[in-house]
Amino acid sequence: MIDGAVPLPVEKSGAGRVRRAHLRQWLLSPPVLILSVLVLCAIFAPLLAPHDPTTPVPAEKLLPPSREHWFGTDPYGMDIFSRVLYAARIDLSVAITSVLLGILVGMPLGAFSGFVRGRFDEVMMRITEIMQAFPPILFAMAVIAAAGNNLVNLTLILAFLNVPVYLKMVRSVTLPLQESDFILAARCGGHSTLSLVGRHIIPNTLVPVFSQFSLSCAYAVQMVAGLSFIGLGVRVPQPEWGSMISLGASFIIFGKWWPAVFPGLAVFLTAYSLNALGHRLRRIVLRET
């Protein structure tokens, strides 16, 4: 035996142990941990929040962080920590829902477009070009001003902005699959185009879509916060990170930093861990392909 060499383990589940170790390492990584904490905070906000998030307490306006109010109080006297917890529900759910909707529409369109090619593909490409020429924030402002200021419209707009991303991505994954053997075999088996796309193409696009999903959610969370910062989508007492920052913005010049900083920190942590997670997933996906 060579000095320092470790004898190979003779156990049956060697590979399985390595895979499980990887999975464990991956699950305990910072982004996943942070995200889990955030999601748990959102779900269990009523249990975790020490104060009522929507009842103004004028006597306790703008108190700095203390033992009683971990993040201080906002201009209406409401506890910022509780509001940040409750706001996680809205921000996270709007972001995730909008991305899912975007995938729901963009994925089949992209798969079809990449598979069928021709006129349909050309038209789809032009449409995505146009959709991506729209400045996101301004477009959201215009649509909400026309269609009404509520969370549903906000979600729909963000979904609209996600459609071209997934359309193009799924299309680019579909293009090389056209000539592959299993597709030709399925065609010989009598599958119609629709069923081919649905049963064979789309499952093959799920993995890259999944890795992009986390990244899109990161962007979506920032968009939600940004849009509600200028007043779109959320009514005033409703706790939401962006509108909380907006409320605290006017007090920054007076040195009262806590109403604006803590909600922004929440947005940043969410976006950061979603991005980090997405990059890890992308690396894994790239390694496997």
Binding site: M141, A145, I253, G255, F268, A271, Y272
Partner: protein, 342 residues
Amino acid sequence: MASWLIASAIYIGKRLLAILLVLLGVATITFAVTRLLGNPVYLLVGQQVDKEIIDNMVHQMGLDRPLPEQYLRYLMAVARGDLGISRVTQRPVLVEIKLRLPATLELVTAAMLLILVGGISLGVFSAMRPGGAVDRLSQFITRLGVSIPDFWIGLILIYVFFFLLKWAPVPLGRLSPGIHSPSQVTGLLVVDSLLAGNWAALLSALGHLVLPAITLALVAVPSTIQITRNTLMQILSSDYIRTARAYGMPSRTIYFRYAVRNDIVPVVTMLAMTFGFLMSSTVLVETVFAWPGVGLYAVNSMYQLDYEPILGVVFLSALFYALAYLVADLITFAVDPRIRAQ
């Protein structure tokens, strides 16, 4: 010689046509949003008004004509440059936008300078020594930069540099109160005050420009660093560079004579697109710093339920974006002989 001219003309023509199509699409979607998603008259007038007044306005605005006719009229108006009338000021939207455009241009230009100096140099140095200290710093900045909301970092900058350190002026607008603004030549305060020799105004303008420019630059710095780094790394690992190294050519010659020249095209393309992108991304930064540009104009119009200006700004931003794409394409076409050969 002539065939080269013809090829260029054809290419430019094709790109212009593509741009026009995109703009047409933008105008169409904007039209659809206005007419189909909500009755614009209600938006202008409110819901509590007499039916007769509403019918009058509908007729005045031409909303009782068939939809295709409305569409054509809208397109013709936009082509003329008529972006509608602001309900609040009763002045043409185009005039209002022109008033505020220099402010946004100045902000974006300042941000671009920061991006050029900071982003590109970081990208270049990262590519020269991958894995080194600068590279790790760049990765760190990139990872942070894509996750930090720009309006939030703007507020933090205000807190640190205005409230704590007292270095920055009051974050309200482009000049401190009491400073005489220079006579309007370009609308860009820095340029105008230089031309007028108004040093007080110049200092004030620059001071007010710093924080918003940094905030806006942060939006685009991560992608700038990434793209510069990746394109340069690709070039540095290409065969002809390796051959040059193998021949013992000094590193400096390799970098400045060959690598940089080949890197210019993708980098300039990226800069053009970043400019176009930033022109439409100033809304949040302008809101935080009360910077009187087109972004803030759109936001204020929204608060005042003044609908036409928002659409005007949307269309303008799409126009800038499309123009930036065109410029990027033309640069690539002009500089890269491989594209010309097609």
